[in-house]
């Protein structure tokens, strides 16, 4: 391998990785790597490996590479070289130390954002290869601690944040009561069989951001939507097991989500403003379970708001004044093509929308996605420093007058907070629902 990159010199302490590595033997590593590659991958991986001509055209796509002064270790193909190719080339005969580095690269130096795949002449999907590395890391028990803990939470509670069975309906009822102070006959209808829509969210909402549930309830009420939320497991659409390579748990939590919609006899699932959950429900989780398409129409919040505004079901009382800019979350814009709808919503709600560049499917990732933010404090600075280009992009937009940054994705939201804070950019970050709630016409 080439000379070590600058970052490798700072030792990171992560009990998930360290304890995991200390338990490894070379035999175990070899057998796990070969078992994953032989039994769980096929032509796709083989084709990628055989097709890549090491041209490096993908490098400029990656925010890590750009943010690290074009250090080749951070280029997409550089990450592949340091991980899966080496594993394949050596037929699994790599050391525990190699596995430690592979865990750090796959989990904290790639957001699986797929920006690079757009720049590769052959469409090689580096994110897919990093996912296989994560699968190997999972099978070896070397997943970083924080995201492993989140996967454990999913396994126990079917939600991301150890929210217990009683805490969920209790929180909804509390938010319903709060909202009734504003709109006396507002309801958050629990377990209403036969409603048109099941609204699902991610666990940080009941845990830390209950006002988002409140706002959603107000939007549903004003728009006259026939909706429900489940009071049992299946309400959380998030999925960090997808990002730890624990496919079995990924499938289990997605099954709970879809079967809850089946049980409630709804026609559609509307999801809150979250990117990775959409990827899990619409792409990864459903396919692992055998569904080529999800069994229910899945509507991301951006599309839902678009439909409501377009149909006049919510009216804007007065547009939002401070100039805004819009971050395109990878999973719903590059991944699901919602870029134009996001712009329609932004323009409908706000007086001034200032584009950041690049944007739409070419937007830079927030660097939180792909489970990277979920690796927690040990890797926070790596994540923030790994996205200097985002800071530059935001700073430029701020110079053009933007005061508010709309980030319609939970992980983007938190990741961008860290970037805005660290680089002292001074942008206020909001969800679409924050702004809708603020500017919509509500019953007097």
């Amino acid at each position: 391998m080439a000379e070590p990159s600058k970052q490798e010199k700072t030792a990171v302490v992560d009990d998930g990785i360290d304890v995991g590595v200390s338990r490894l033997t070379e035999e175990k590593i070899q057998s796990v790597i070969n078992s994953v590659i032989d039994n769980e991958t096929g032509v796709r991986l083989k084709t990628y490996v055989e097709t890549c001509i090491h041209c490096g055209l993908c490098s400029e796509a990656c925010h890590y590479y750009l943010s690290h002064d074009k250090d080749p270790h951070y280029s997409p193909v550089g990450k592949v070289k340091q991980t899966i190719w080496e594993m394949i080339r050596k037929k699994g005969r790599v050391s525990p130390e190699f596995i430690r580095q592979a865990a750090i690269i796959a989990h904290t130096q790639c957001n699986l954002c797929k920006r690079c795949a757009q720049y590769c002449p052959f469409g090689i999907d580096i994110a897919y290869m990093m996912s296989i590395v994560r699968r190997i890391i999972h099978r070896l028990g070397v997943t970083p601690l924080y995201i492993q803990d989140t996967a454990h939470s999913h396994s126990v509670t079917m939600n991301q944040m150890w929210v217990k069975g009683d805490e969920w309906p209790d929180t909804l009822q509390w938010q319903e009561e709060e909202a009734q102070a504003e709109i006396p006959d507002l309801r958050i209808p629990l377990e209403k069989e036969g409603a048109d829509i099941m609204y699902s969210v991610i666990a940080p909402e009941p845990k830390f951001q209950a006002q988002l549930l409140y706002q959603a309830a107000v939007i549903m009420h004003v728009a006259g939507v026939d909706w429900t939320m489940p009071a049992s497991v299946g309400w959380d659409n998030s999925d960090m097991a997808m990002y730890t390579g624990d496919n079995e748990i990924m499938g289990r939590i997605k099954r709970a989500h879809f079967e809850t919609a089946e049980r409630l006899k709804v026609k559609k699932i509307v999801m809150g403003e979250c990117g990775h959950a959409f990827r899990s429900v619409y792409d990864m989780g459903n396919r692992w379970l055998g569904w080529s398409m999800p069994p229910f129409t899945i509507v991301h919040a951006i599309e839902f708001y678009y439909d409501l505004i377009k149909a006049g079901r919510i009216q804007i009382a007065r547009k939002f004044k401070p100039p805004v800019t819009l971050h395109d979350p990878c999973n719903v814009v590059r991944g699901a093509g919602l870029g134009e709808k996001a712009r329609y919503v932004a323009h409908a709600l706000c007086e001034t929308v200032i584009e950041m560049y690049p944007n739409r499917e070419h937007n830079y990732c927030c660097c939180a996605g792909g489970g990277v933010i979920n690796t927690g404090p040990p890797f926070k600075m790596a994540r923030v420093e790994g996205n200097r280009v985002k800071a530059e992009q935001l700073f430029e937009t701020k110079t053009k007058g933007a005061e508010v940054l709309i980030a319609p994705c939970h992980n983007c939201h938190s990741g961008l907070e860290d970037i805005v804070h660290h680089y002292e950019i001074g942008l206020e970050i909001k969800f679409f629902s924050d702004i809708i709630y603020e500017v919509m016409e509500k019953p007097a």
Binding site: N39, D149, V156, G194
Partner: protein, 421 residues
């Protein structure tokens, strides 16, 4: 179960006006109809933070509660709801709250005959099951999956027995969960315990377990099967022999196993929701014979017809000879009986209901928010704003239809011969 023999199968039509309720209360929530169709009830808001249930136009008992939710009729016709009074929660049945109160109560379960009514409860951040008002003596730090025995006399939960702080991943991986029957926890610890089943005699408990991050199996009374799988789904007990059957995944494919041994020869891309016929002779399950195609398999043989989006709500006829299910293609549902899809497609359909001799099948269906019934692939002429599942008379000649039409609740008895006309 209230005896359908004693229900009124003669009166063709009874009506209860619902619209008037709206003028009496600040708001009226969605109505529920009793199994015999004689009662219709809804949670109603009396004033700020004051709730009752309106049953056939009358308020429910004396008590006004601070909050009421999850209103449901139990199979024996009692009206139940989860209620809050002075900050404490419990279940109320026909307007009477259980004496025991809790910090919270949720996920009610009803046995088929209605004799057992159970729920999960939390008190002082400890968890247990409550059955007919009596909570377990032992409480647990967490409880995640719940079960009620078929006879309604036993309850079970997946419970946490070793404290672990979030972030203690290696301690968690040593096993902190187990299952408890009537509050008695197994001695064995597992990483995870999910989807419990209690045997028909109420003595045995089976569950899905994860032994470490990678190996899954079924545990019965705390003893895991010898076989290890890539993953498993919910076990069920054979209604007569007590054998345990579960879907298991090996080498990326699903099949059915009984007591740790392969039961079906074929494998599937997916397999779940297995069920025994009432006599225990046959097993049906929802399967994906190939990626993206869904159907029902009976005794391991999938129906030739497959469907693209979803197959759900499978059910055996009482004699075990037929299986009906719902299949979704695109955005619409059809009833399918023994692999034959009915001609009409609906925006939504509900679990098919067999007549006592298994010849007739009827299902509640909906299109454009209008509800009706389809019997043997012939659509009933009426439509409604809301409807409940149809019920056959014990002799199979009549159907009880419960609907809401133009602001009135309607209880109808319709001869099966007329339904098809």
């Amino acid at each position: 179960m209230a005896d359908p023999q004693s229900w009124d199968w003669e009166t063709r039509e009874k009506k209860i006006p619902l619209d008037a309720w709206k003028t009496e209360y600040r708001w009226v929530e969605e109505p529920y109809a009793s199994p015999d169709g004689e009662k219709v009830a809804a949670v109603v808001n009396v004033d700020e933070g004051e709730f009752t249930v309106c049953v056939n136009g009358e308020a429910w008992g004396e008590t006004v509660f601070d909050k009421i939710w999850h209103l449901r009729f139990s199979p024996d016709g009692r009206l139940t709801a989860l209620v809050n009074e002075m900050g404490e929660w419990t279940m109320a049945i026909d307007g009477e709250a259980w004496e025991n109160k809790f910090g919270y109560i949720w996920e009610p379960h009803y046995s088929a005959d209605g004799s057992g009514i159970a729920a999960a409860v939390q008190q002082d951040m400890q968890y247990a099951m409550v059955l007919n008002g009596e909570p377990w003596e032992t409480m647990f730090a967490n409880m995640t999956y719940f079960a009620l025995s078929p006879d309604g006399r036993h309850t079970a939960g997946a419970v946490q027995v070793v404290d672990v702080d979030s972030g203690e991943i290696h301690k968690f991986q040593e096993g902190t969960f187990t299952a408890a029957l009537d509050g008695n926890a197994w001695d064995t610890r597992f990483v995870n315990v999910w989807n419990l089943a209690i045997s028909p005699d109420g003595v045995h408990l089976a569950a899905e377990v994860r032994l470490n991050l990678y190996d899954y199996t079924i545990a019965v009374d705390g003893v895991p099967w010898d076989a290890r799988y890539q993953t498993v789904w919910a076990p069920v007990f054979h209604p007569l022999t007590g054998g345990v059957v579960a879907p298991v995944r090996e080498k990326g494919a699903w099949t059915l196993a009984q007591d740790g041994k392969p039961l079906w020869k074929r494998t599937f891309v997916q397999l779940w929701q297995q069920m025994f016929s009432p006599d225990g002779q046959r097993i049906a399950a929802i399967v994906a014979p190939k990626y993206g195609r869904w159907t029902v398999a009976v005794d391991g043989e999938p129906w030739p017809a497959t469907f693209g989006k979803l197959v759900t709500d499978a059910v055996f006829s009482p004699d075990g000879r037929k299986v009906a299910a719902l299949a979704k293609d695109g955005e619409t549902f059809r009833v399918v009986v023994d692999g034959q899809p009915w001609s009409d497609a609906w925006d939504m359909a509900w679990k098919p209901v067999f007549g006592p001799d298994g010849k007739d099948v009827v299902a509640k269906v909906e299109k454009d928010h209008r509800y009706t019934y389809s019997l043997n692939n012939r659509v009933w002429r009426g439509t409604a704003d809301a409807a409940w599942d149809p019920v056959f008379s014990p002799d199979g000649t009549r159907l009880l239809l419960r609907t809401v039409e133009s602001g009135q609740y309607v209880r109808r008895v319709v001869p099966v011969s007329e339904m098809a006309g």
